[in-house]
């Protein structure tokens, strides 16, 4: 199991926020506030085989984690988006793995936010 710090790329984050650590904190708060709801939508859509909704939720989550250089989460979301578009049957277990990875991303962001000088 990888550590939660490695769930996000410090270099990608620094570049995205242009060295503005206050902005990093704000983005972390937004991500932690928004991703659980999107994850709920994805899980419900996967359970109900609502493929367009599942694809949309996975696509949005993919975009969000892309902001942080969270490659593993991005890859998982991308896989789910493609699977939903091809109406695959295994969306639910993949969604659960993404949920776990998103928790690591959130923890990694919090850890990086605490670790950087203000």
């Amino acid at each position: 199991m990888q550590s939660h710090e490695s769930a996000v790329s410090r270099a990608a984050l620094e570049e995205q926020v242009g060295g503005d650590h206050q902005l990093l904190e704000e983005l972390t708060d937004l991500f932690c506030g928004d991703y659980p709801q999107l994850m709920e939508q994805l899980t419900a859509a996967a359970a109900n085989r609502d493929y367009p909704k599942a694809a949309y939720a996975a696509h949005t989550l993919k975009g969000m984690v892309g902001n942080f250089g969270a490659q593993a989460a991005w890859d998982l979301a991308q896989t789910i988006e493609c699977a939903a578009k091809s109406q695959a049957e295994n969306l639910l277990p993949m969604s659960q793995r993404l949920d776990e990875e998103l928790r690591r991303v959130a923890q990694g962001l919090r850890a990086l936010g605490k670790g950087v000088p203000q």
């Binding site: 926020v17 242009g18 928004d34 949309y56 696509h59 969000m64 892309g66 902001n67 991308q78």
Partner: protein
């Protein structure tokens, strides 16, 4: 001079708002397709940064509406998306968008492009223009 950001991802929209603010560019944000068309028509921004995947209609529909309206057809539009469709860049250009940038968006690239389109009177933009003239 205001730039409209049409993006449902609040993380990305906030990132763009704050980075552009730091460069002296004011922004407004629309979080869905309908809102994007309404705000563009009402406020006539200097440029529009348009996400292609949004709720309430796609960014492609927004782009078509913007380019079909005499009020908004001349506003430059930069589109972006994390989509896997390889035809999308061509599609958006055919619909009248100035450029397509894949997500995750590289801010420097976006800002350079934006400056070339709207030439804002900000210190960074002036420096970029001077640099461009010297080359």
């Amino acid at each position: 001079m205001t730039v409209l950001i049409a993006e449902d991802d609040r993380v990305h929209s906030h990132l763009l708002v704050q980075r552009l603010k730091a460069e002296g560019i004011q922004t407004t944000v629309a979080y869905d397709a309908m809102q994007a068309v309404m705000v563009a028509s009402r406020t006539l921004p200097a440029a529009i940064l348009l996400d292609i995947n949004m709720p309430g209609g796609t960014g492609l529909e927004v782009l078509k509406r913007l380019k079909a309206s005499t009020k908004t057809c001349n506003i430059p539009v930069i589109t972006f998306s994390g989509t896997i469709d390889p035809n999308l860049p061509t599609t958006v250009r055919e619909l009248g968008a100035e450029e397509f940038i894949p997500k995750p968006v590289e801010f420097e690239k976006l800002f350079l492009l934006l400056c070339s389109l709207i030439q804002p009177a900000t210190p960074t933009a002036r420096a970029l223009q001077e640099k461009g003239m010297r080359q």
